[in-house]
C-alpha cells in the first residue's frame, strides 16, 4: 500500500489549488447570487482555466490534450470544487464527454471533433439523455416494454438522420458547441435495444436551445432545454452502431467506455471539494468566532460537530482516491457507484453540520454557508436518489 502522489499528480493538484484560490473563489459568491439563470455563466473563468489545461485534461496527448490519469482528475476536481462546486463541474463535464469521444468515436470523428475542441478555449461539451417525460426510465428502463424511456425520434433519410423531439435539464446545453444526443431509432423494442447516439454540433440546422433552467444550487453551471425540429444530422455523426447507444454508455449493466464510469467518480470527487471547503470554513469559524469571551471551538457541541465533519470527509477522500486508483488500473468494481451514493450522504451531512455551527445569527445566514448547502442538495437527484442507488446495487448483484 502506498498512498503517496506522484510529482505530476502533486503538481496538477497545486496548479488547481492556485487557480481555485486566485480565480474561482473570488467570483464564486457573486456568480451564485445572480438571479437570472442565463447570466450566471462567464466565459472569462473558462478561458483562463482552459489555458491551464483544466478543460482538456482528459483528452489523449495524441489529440493535443494532457491525458491525465483518473487520480489526477479526481484531485483537480476536488481542488476546483473547494472554491466553487459548479465551476469545477463546468470544467469536468468536458472531461466526461472527452472520455466518451476517446473511447467510442472513430478516428475520423476524433479528427473532426476532438481537434477543434482542444483548439478552442470556449468549446464545451454536453450530452442529452433526459427528457421531460423520461428521467428514471432512461436510467433504469424496463427490459420488456418498449414504451417507457426517451422519445426523441431519429429517422434516417439517405445520408442524414432527421431528429425530432426535446431534451430537458441538459448540462452545458446553453453554452456547448457539441453534444452527444441519445435518440430512438427503433421505437418497437425496449429502450436499451433501440437508441442510437449522435454527435450534434450546436449549429445543426433545426436544433436550438430553449429555456435555461433556474436551479437552487450549482448556479454557475448551465442546464437547458434542447429542441429538435427536423434537425438534420449526417450519418457520419452516429457514435458506434445504430441502436447501439447503450452498449457505449454502459446502461444499467456497467460501464464499458469511461463516460458513465467517470461520472460516478466526478460527483464523488466534486462533493469532496465541497466537504473540504465546509471543514476548513467550520474550523476557521470555530477558532475566530467568539461567544462569551471564548472561541466557539471551546464548546463541546462545536468540537463534536467538527469531528464528525472531518471524519466523514476523510472517509470520502479515501473512497474517492481508491476509486480513481482502480479506474487507472482498469479494475472493474461497483465502487465508483457506491462512492457516488456515499458522497451524497456525506456532502449533505457535512454542509448541514457547518450550517448548524454557523447558525442563523438573528435571522441572517452567511451566504457562503447557504450556497454550500444548496449546492449539496444537487446530489440528491444525481447521486443519491433511489434509482441511482438501485442501479449501483444491480452492479453488485450482476
Amino acid at each position: 500500500m502506498d498512498f503517496s502522489l506522484s510529482n505530476e499528480q502533486r503538481s496538477w493538484q497545486m496548479l488547481a489549488r492556485k487557480f481555485a484560490d486566485e480565480e474561482i473563489r473570488p467570483i464564486s459568491l457573486e456568480r451564485d447570487a445572480i438571479t437570472s439563470a442565463r447570466e450566471t455563466w462567464t466565459w472569462d473563468i473558462i478561458k483562463k482555466g482552459s489555458k491551464l489545461g483544466f478543460r482538456t485534461m482528459a483528452v489523449p496527448k495524441k489529440y493535443g490534450g494532457q491525458e491525465t490519469d483518473f487520480v489526477t482528475q479526481a484531485l483537480v476536481m476536488t481542488e476546483l470544487a473547494k472554491a466553487d462546486s459548479a465551476i469545477s463541474k463546468a470544467f469536468s463535464q468536458n472531461w466526461k464527454w472527452s472520455h466518451l469521444i476517446s473511447a467510442a468515436c472513430t478516428d475520423e470523428q476524433k479528427e473532426r471533433f476532438l481537434k477543434p475542441f482542444v483548439a478552442d478555449d470556449t468549446f464545451v461539451l454536453g450530452k442529452g439523455i433526459t427528457e421531460p417525460g423520461a428521467g428514471s426510465d432512461n436510467r433504469m428502463p424496463p427490459t420488456d416494454d418498449p414504451k417507457p424511456g426517451l422519445r426523441l425520434k431519429a429517422e434516417r433519410h439517405g445520408d442524414e438522420w432527421i431528429l425530432n423531439g426535446e431534451k430537458a435539464f441538459i448540462a452545458n446545453a446553453p453554452v456547448g458547441k457539441l453534444f452527444f444526443v441519445d435518440a430512438r431509432t427503433d421505437p418497437t423494442v425496449p429502450l436499451k435495444q433501440g437508441i442510437t447516439m449522435f454527435l450534434v454540433p450546436s449549429d445543426t440546422p433545426g436544433f436550438r436551445i430553449g429555456k435555461v433552467f433556474n436551479k437552487s444550487g450549482w448556479r454557475f453551471y448551465q442546464n437547458g432545454e434542447m429542441i429538435f425540429e427536423n434537425a438534420r444530422v449526417p450519418h457520419a455523426n452516429v457514435v458506434g452502431e445504430v441502436n447501439g447507444a447503450v452498449r457505449k454508455t454502459g446502461g444499467a449493466g456497467g460501464d464499458t467506455t469511461g463516460g458513465d464510469l467517470f461520472g460516478d467518480l466526478e460527483l464523488s470527487a466534486n462533493a469532496l471539494g465541497i466537504c473540504d471547503d465546509a471543514c476548513e470554513s467550520a474550523l476557521r469559524y470555530g477558532k475566530t468566532a467568539r461567544q462569551g469571551g471564548r472561541a466557539l471551538f471551546a464548546q463541546q457541541q462545536v468540537q463534536l460537530k467538527i469531528n464528525r465533519m472531518y471524519m466523514m470527509t476523510e472517509a470520502l477522500r479515501s473512497f474517492v482516491l481508491r476509486v480513481a486508483w482502480e479506474h487507472d488500473r482498469k479494475i472493474h468494481s461497483c465502487n465508483a457507484g457506491l462512492a457516488m451514493n456515499y458522497s451524497c450522504d456525506v456532502v449533505q451531512e457535512v454542509t448541514e453540520l457547518y450550517m448548524d455551527i454557523r447558525g442563523a445569527d438573528g435571522g441572517h445566514m452567511d451566504p457562503h454557508t447557504d450556497k454550500l448547502v444548496r449546492d449539496s442538495f444537487i446530489w440528491s437527484h444525481l447521486a443519491g436518489d433511489s434509482v441511482s442507488r438501485m442501479k449501483v446495487t444491480k452492479r453488485i448483484i450482476d
Binding site: G135, P142, P148, S216, R290, Q291, G292, G362, H381, S386
Partner: protein
C-alpha cells in the same frame, strides 16, 4: 381527560382556512416570483384578506375584539396557513400572537385604551417584537449549566428625560414584521435596573428609522429598527414581567408552539405536492407511488408529520391546560422546545425527501420544492437554533434554573 377530538369550532376554522389557502393563497404562493427565495414580495392583499377573516387578531381575547382562539386552535390555523405560504403564516402568526401577549397580558388599561382600538380596527395594523441586537446573543453557549453573567449585555437603552418622556437609543436587528408594523414592543435596558424592560414604540414615533431587509433569509418580512433619541410617552413602559413574557417569542421553551406549527405546515405542503406527483408521474411502467422506494419515502414523510404534529399539539394543549402539568398528567418539561427540535429536524428531512421524488424538478427555482427545503431550514436555524434548545432542555432535566429573560452572552467578541 386525554382527548384528541377537536371541537366543532376547531374543525370549522381548520376547514375554513384550508379552503382560503386553496382559493386565495396557493395560486399566489405558487407563482414564480413567490418561489424566488432571494427576491420575494409579501402578498399584502392576501394578508389583508386574512385579517378581514379575523386571522390577524385570532389569539386576542373575544372581549377585546379578537377571536379568542386557544393555543391549540392557533397552532392549527398556523399549520394550515403555512401549508399555503410560510411568509403569510409568519406575518399573521407574529401579529396575532403578539396581539394576545401585549393586549391580553402585558398592557395596563390606559395602554390598551390608547392602542387597542387602532389594532382591532385597522386590517393593516401589525405588531413587532424588537429584541435582537447584533452584539447580544441569547444563546447559552459557554454558560450552559453555569450562572448567567451579572451584566445585561443589551445596548439599546432608555432614559427618562426631564420632560418625563422616555428617550431610546440603540439598534435592533432582524425584527420580524418591522417593515409593516404599526407598533413595536422594544426591549431596552434602563440604567440602574438589572432586568430588561419593554417599551411600546409606534412606527411613527419621532427618532425611529425602519429599514426593511432586502433578500431576507427568514420568513415573513424583517428589518432593522434604529432609535436615535426616539421619544415615547412615559406611559408606554410595560410592566416588569413583560420582557420575560415576550421572551418566549424568540426562545422556544414552555411557550406556544406556533412556529413549530408553521414548520409543520411547510412539511405538509412538500408532502402533499410529492404525493400528488407520485400518483401522477409514471416511470418504470407504473405511478411512482407504486414503487417500494417511493412508497417508503412517502410513508417516512407521513410518519414525521404525524409525530411532529403530536408533539406540537401536546405542547399547545399543555399551554391551554397548565393543570395537566401541575397534576403530573404531562411532564414538566419545555414541551415547545421538544416540539421545536423534533419538528425542525424532521421537516428538513421531509422536504428534502419530497423534493427528491421530483428528481431534477426538485431543485428548480420555478418549482416550490426547493423553497420548502429553504423554509424548513429557516425553521431549523431560527432563533438560537436546536443546539441551544437542547442545552436549555438539558438544564431543565438537570434541575438547573435560570431566569428566562437574561441575555446570556455576547455573540461575538
Amino acid at each position: 381527560m386525554y382527548n384528541l377530538h377537536l371541537s366543532t369550532e376547531q374543525l370549522e376554522i381548520r376547514d375554513t382556512i384550508r379552503d382560503f389557502v386553496a382559493r386565495e393563497i396557493k395560486p399566489v404562493a405558487l407563482k414564480a416570483e413567490r418561489l424566488e427565495i432571494c427576491d420575494r414580495r409579501l402578498p399584502m392583499r392576501v394578508i389583508y384578506q386574512a385579517s378581514q377573516m379575523g386571522l390577524r387578531t385570532l389569539a386576542l381575547s373575544e372581549d377585546r375584539g379578537g377571536a379568542g382562539a386557544d393555543h391549540l386552535t392557533c397552532c392549527i390555523v398556523t399549520e394550515e396557513l403555512a401549508a399555503g405560504d410560510a411568509d403569510i403564516a409568519a406575518v399573521l402568526s407574529t401579529t396575532s400572537w403578539l396581539g394576545h401577549l401585549l393586549f391580553d397580558h402585558a398592557m395596563n388599561d390606559a395602554q390598551r385604551e390608547r392602542f387597542l382600538p387602532k389594532f382591532v380596527g385597522d386590517d393593516r395594523f401589525h405588531l413587532a417584537f424588537a429584541n435582537y441586537e447584533a452584539q447580544t446573543g441569547t444563546q447559552l453557549g459557554v454558560n450552559y449549566h453555569r450562572p448567567a453573567p451579572a451584566d445585561v449585555a443589551l445596548e439599546t437603552s432608555a432614559i427618562k428625560a426631564a420632560s418625563g418622556e422616555w428617550i431610546i437609543n440603540g439598534v435592533k436587528d432582524y425584527v420580524a414584521n418591522a417593515p409593516i408594523a404599526a407598533l413595536f414592543a422594544v426591549v431596552v435596558k434602563i440604567p440602574g435596573q438589572a432586568v430588561p424592560k419593554v417599551l411600546l414604540v409606534p412606527a411613527d414615533a419621532p427618532g425611529i428609522t425602519i429599514r426593511a431587509h432586502e433578500k431576507p433569509w427568514p420568513h415573513g418580512c424583517g428589518g432593522t429598527v434604529t432609535f436615535k433619541d426616539c421619544q415615547v410617552p412615559v406611559g408606554n413602559l410595560l410592566g416588569d414581567n413583560a420582557a420575560a413574557l415576550l421572551a418566549c417569542v424568540d426562545v422556544p421553551g414552555h411557550g406556544t408552539p406556533l412556529f413549530q406549527a408553521l414548520n409543520l405546515g411547510i412539511g405538509r405542503a412538500a408532502y402533499e405536492a410529492a404525493l400528488d406527483f407520485a400518483r401522477l408521474r409514471v416511470q418504470g411502467g407504473r405511478p411512482l407511488i407504486e414503487h417500494q422506494a417511493i412508497g417508503t419515502k412517502l410513508a417516512e414523510i407521513a410518519i414525521r408529520l404525524e409525530v411532529a404534529r403530536a408533539s406540537i399539539w401536546q405542547a399547545a394543549w399543555a399551554s391551554d391546560h397548565p393543570e395537566a402539568i401541575a397534576d403530573g398528567s404531562l411532564p414538566d418539561l419545555p414541551l415547545q422546545a421538544v416540539a421545536q427540535v423534533f419538528t425542525s429536524e424532521m421537516m428538513v428531512k421531509a422536504t428534502k425527501d419530497a423534493a427528491e421524488i421530483f428528481g431534477a424538478l426538485g431543485v428548480m427555482r420555478d418549482m416550490p420544492l426547493q423553497k420548502y427545503i429553504h423554509d424548513a431550514r429557516v425553521c431549523q436555524h431560527s432563533g438560537n437554533g436546536n443546539t441551544d434548545a437542547k442545552l436549555r432542555l438539558a438544564e431543565v432535566i438537570a434541575g438547573f434554573r435560570r431566569p428566562a429573560h437574561a441575555p446570556m452572552v455576547r455573540a461575538s467578541n
